[in-house]
């Protein structure tokens, strides 16, 4: 059995929760990235702490890769179940590297490596995962030094013994990998590029949290909920280096109300949650609408209704956020498709929220926040943290109509200036005091809705990617950016383009022109009803009747999209 893997390899590590797959994932991605490869890692895992079957896919490539593929070139299973768990993704082209003494798999293309035995010989079965890392790195022929450096960095705090055990484990594995490579049994032929060493390696979570930092976020209030928790944890870590109030609220209702209290006082607060936690925040969103408070809301989507599948991915919260909160008031919803977008849109979210005094959403999902890949270094010189609050004078009125520009009155904060700042969840007059004057009511409604005009002027138009003379247009939003892009790049004989929306509300109504130019339009979403297509229809009247929908909790794979797009193109609908 001889295998050559050219330009790209997809490695899948699988095992039970608690077997250290996450460690392998970060070791491999970091070391391979640092050695000049493009890497992309995505995990799927169960809602439990130990046991079950989880897996991580790591794509290593000579060109940027950012999407999930079904294909598994190399599989390293740490438990017997995990092979069954992966099902049809394991084909006869998949090389399996396993300790078959322990796993007792009956498979042809299996390379039996005594991962566990080596670990046990080193005195601790826990080292098995590190042996596996060594094998892979041996296959790549990475310098041993890189590995050692990284192990020292990672395990340094845990003491010398652990570090040395890990280094030994890795090098034992390394020898095996190198041997396989040297004997020509597995040849990985992917060009490395020195320049990539300087790339950052970020997750979707990192991108959102760093964007928040760059947006001047100085407070985060949240109640843990997968997959929204990551941003809370990241901010907690950043709080060691930057001024951030990090507080775990007693519930989601507290979280959003705390965020509003913070903005009222001049803070720049965010909340992070998931669908179900957000459902509890809706009254608070409505309060933001009424008192015209900025607030930034990160929502990592997962399959619903109710608790649903806590650790899986979906795009099911679009309806919810667009219509969240009772009453009528403006809002902005961003749905980044790339990590760069996640960073810049989250950064922008704070400025937009502050400028227009509205809630701004960052809508991601489990697949997006839990993926890692190379990102180019950031240049923040064009970025500004726009603080829009003003120093008040004695005559200050929070909702001054005469001073309102496109519905936006200057926002004062307490004890900065001579004025008093009064906000009220009841309908209120220009001062902010409760009123039941029905004429003022109408003026205030009009004022709040007028902000839509200004917000519409700053809509981020969808991005057209692919063949400019397209016949087929794929419409998508949020995290499906890369997978759709890669799929249509692979369908070479058709004229296809992708129209990706990273702002989903308000919608760019001008985008209808792109649809008009297409022979056929296909909507791709991770939900069962086509929420974006429906929103598009509500906003523009244009239907997109051809839909590719997935709602089993997994992201689309490149291969399945290629097949489904081809079917749609060839089929009638």
């Amino acid at each position: 059995m001889n295998t050559t893997l050219k330009d790209e390899v997809s490695i899948v590590l699988a095992g039970e929760a608690g077997q250290g797959i996450q460690t392998i994932e970060s070791l491999l991605t970091y070391i391979l990235k640092r050695d000049g490869y493009y890497v992309f890692a995505t995990k799927e895992y169960m809602s439990r702490i130990r046991g079950g079957s989880n897996s991580t896919e790591i794509r290593v490539s000579s060109r940027p890769v950012n999407s999930f593929v079904d294909r598994i070139d190399i599989l390293i299973p740490l438990s017997r179940n995990s092979v069954t768990h992966l099902g049809k993704r394991v084909t006869d082209k998949t090389l399996i590297i396993a300790d078959n003494e322990a796993l007792k798999l009956e498979m042809d293309n299996l390379i039996d490596v005594p991962l566990l035995k080596i670990a046990n010989d080193l005195g601790n079965p826990i080292f098995a995962n590190i042996v596996a890392v060594g094998v892979v790195l041996g296959l790549f022929g990475i310098r041993v030094k890189s590995i050692e450096d990284y192990l020292v960095e990672t395990f340094g705090r845990k003491g010398k013994e652990i570090v040395e055990g890990n280094i030994l484990a890795a090098s034992k594995g390394y020898q095996i990998g190198k041997e396989l490579r040297d004997k020509g049994q597995i040849i990985i032929d992917i060009e490395a590029d020195e320049d990539l060493k300087e790339d950052l390696l970020l997750s979707g979570t990192d991108s959102v949290a760093l964007g928040a930092l760059a947006g001047g976020c100085d407070s985060i209030f949240a109640y843990p909920m997968t997959p929204g928790t990551g941003v809370l944890t990241a901010m907690a870590n950043f709080s060691k280096h930057f001024d951030i109030v990090v507080e775990q609220a007693e519930d989601e209702i507290a979280a959003i109300n705390m965020a509003l209290g913070s903005w009222y006082t001049g803070g720049r607060a965010m909340v992070t949650t998931s669908d179900g936690g957000f459902a509890l925040m809706e009254e608070g969103v409505s309060l933001a609408g009424m008192i015209e408070s900025p607030v930034v809301i990160h929502l990592g989507q997962r399959p619903a209704p109710a608790t649903g599948l806590p650790t899986r991915t979906a795009q099911e919260a679009l309806n919810l956020v667009v219509h969240a909160g009772h009453g009528e008031f403006p809002r902005i919803v961003y749905a980044p498709g790339t990590f760069e977008q996640a960073f810049y849109l989250t950064q922008k979210a704070f400025n937009m929220a502050d400028k227009y005094q509205v809630p701004v959403f960052i809508l991601t999902d489990q697949f997006f926040v839990d993926s890692y890949s190379n990102v180019k270094k950031f240049d923040l010189s064009d970025i500004k943290i726009e603080k829009h609050f003003v120093e008040t004078d004695e005559n200050y009125k929070r909702y001054d109509l005469s001073k309102a520009v496109k519905g936006v009155s200057p926002r004062g904060i307490p004890n900065f200036g001579k004025g008093l700042v009064i906000v009220d969840s009841d309908e209120h007059d220009e001062h902010g005091h409760i009123t039941e004057n029905l004429e003022i009511r109408v003026k205030m409604v009009d004022k709040r809705l007028k902000k839509f005009e200004a917000i519409n002027d700053e809509i981020i138009s969808p991005e057209l990617v692919g063949d400019e003379n397209y016949e087929y247009l794929i419409v998508c939003w949020g995290s499906n950016y890369h997978v759709v892009k890669e799929a249509i790049e692979n369908i070479k004989d058709k004229k296809i383009a992708m129209l990706h929306f990273s702002q989903v509300f308000p919608l760019d109504k001008g985008s209808v022109k792109y649809l008009e130019n297409a022979k056929k339009v296909i909507d791709i979403e991770n939900n069962a009803t086509g929420q974006f297509a429906r929103l598009f229809k509500a906003e523009t009247g244009v239907s997109i009747d051809s839909k590719i929908l997935k709602y089993n909790g997994m992201p689309f794979s490149v291969e399945e999209l290629i097949i489904k797009i081809n079917e749609k193109i060839e089929g009638d609908l």
Binding site: F242, V245, A254, A255, L420, V421
Partner: protein
């Protein structure tokens, strides 16, 4: 001090359309609170924020000079503590009704006691839902008939004093608006207390609560004497459990407990409120670009 007289009173006070019923205990609380604030030299309308929820009591911040956050029903506390976290220089009062604080807002009540943020929590306890027209509140007495509890309330009343003490509150007081001087002193002490301070004020609702009237409160309350030692937690609980006669005064007080904001990393070295701080984007750029 004289320049502080009416410091918190609107110039156009006469024109204010106060939405309370004539004779309502809320008027008394408003007057007492204004007086207490006048007597606290460190406070001005500008460095004071009053946060309320929804209800008759919750309208109070609209009736005197302060920075007001009149938020959602039940949600005054999260807003108030976040304000203090963003700017510890402000004096923050969270003030609302019994339904608001102990009913809809009950979860914030128990968990913010644990936080011990340096705010004052004033509850207008009329033992009824006033604004929504007379349903039982958590503190309504057993047996009271209302439009919803047509056979009388069957749940036991919530005992905010006992729960707050048991839950670790560092300042727990009960007042009666009929006792003007006592209430004013309690409010002042509560505001000056370092940490979370609860002041539950008996407030007759002349429209919907025909049981707990001014006379009833007069008859069923007594003042804790000067010899009372509010630092004994068990004694305080005994007082809190009394049923025939209800004690007025500072029932429990514990000093020297660190406040929440003192323990926050951001304020350990730098006391400036958040709004005055700037993020250093150059530093951030370096930080990000090190994430390789």
């Amino acid at each position: 001090m004289s320049d502080r007289q009416n410091l918190f009173t609107f110039e156009n006070e006469k024109e204010l359309d106060i939405a309370w019923c004539p004779g309502c205990g809320n008027f008394g609380i408003l007057n007492i609170l204004k007086k207490a604030l006048e007597e606290l030299e460190e406070i001005t309308p500008n460095n004071l924020v009053v946060v309320s929820g929804i209800g008759q009591a919750a309208k109070i911040p609209h009736y005197f000079k302060n920075n007001t956050f009149n938020g959602l029903h039940g949600r005054a506390l999260p807003v108030a503590v976040a304000i203090k976290m963003a700017n510890p220089e402000l004096f923050v009062i969270a003030e609302s009704g019994d339904g608001d604080m102990y009913g809809e807002g009950g979860n914030h009540f128990i968990h913010n006691i644990r936080r011990n943020v340096d705010i004052t929590n004033i509850v207008h306890d009329n033992r009824v839902y006033g604004l929504t027209k007379g349903q039982a509140s958590p503190t309504t007495q057993k047996g009271m008939v209302t439009p919803v509890q047509v056979n009388g309330v069957i749940s036991d009343p919530f005992n905010p004093i006992a729960v707050a003490i048991a839950n670790g509150a560092t300042f727990v007081a009960r007042a009666f608006v009929g006792d003007v001087k006592g209430t004013k002193e309690i409010i002042k002490r509560a505001i000056r207390h370092k940490g979370y301070a609860l002041v539950d004020i008996f407030q007759p609702c002349v429209t919907f609560n025909r049981i707990n009237t001014y006379a009833w409160f007069n008859q069923h309350t007594y003042k804790l004497g000067d010899d009372y030692d509010p630092t004994d937690k068990i004694k305080a609980l005994e007082i809190a459990f009394q049923e025939d006669k209800l004690a007025l005064g500072i029932i429990y007080e514990e000093d020297g407990i660190p406040t929440f904001e003192e323990q926050l990393n951001v304020y350990k070295e730098n006391k400036e409120p958040l709004y005055k701080r700037q993020r250093d984007l150059k530093e951030l750029e370096m930080f990000i670009n090190a994430m390789k």
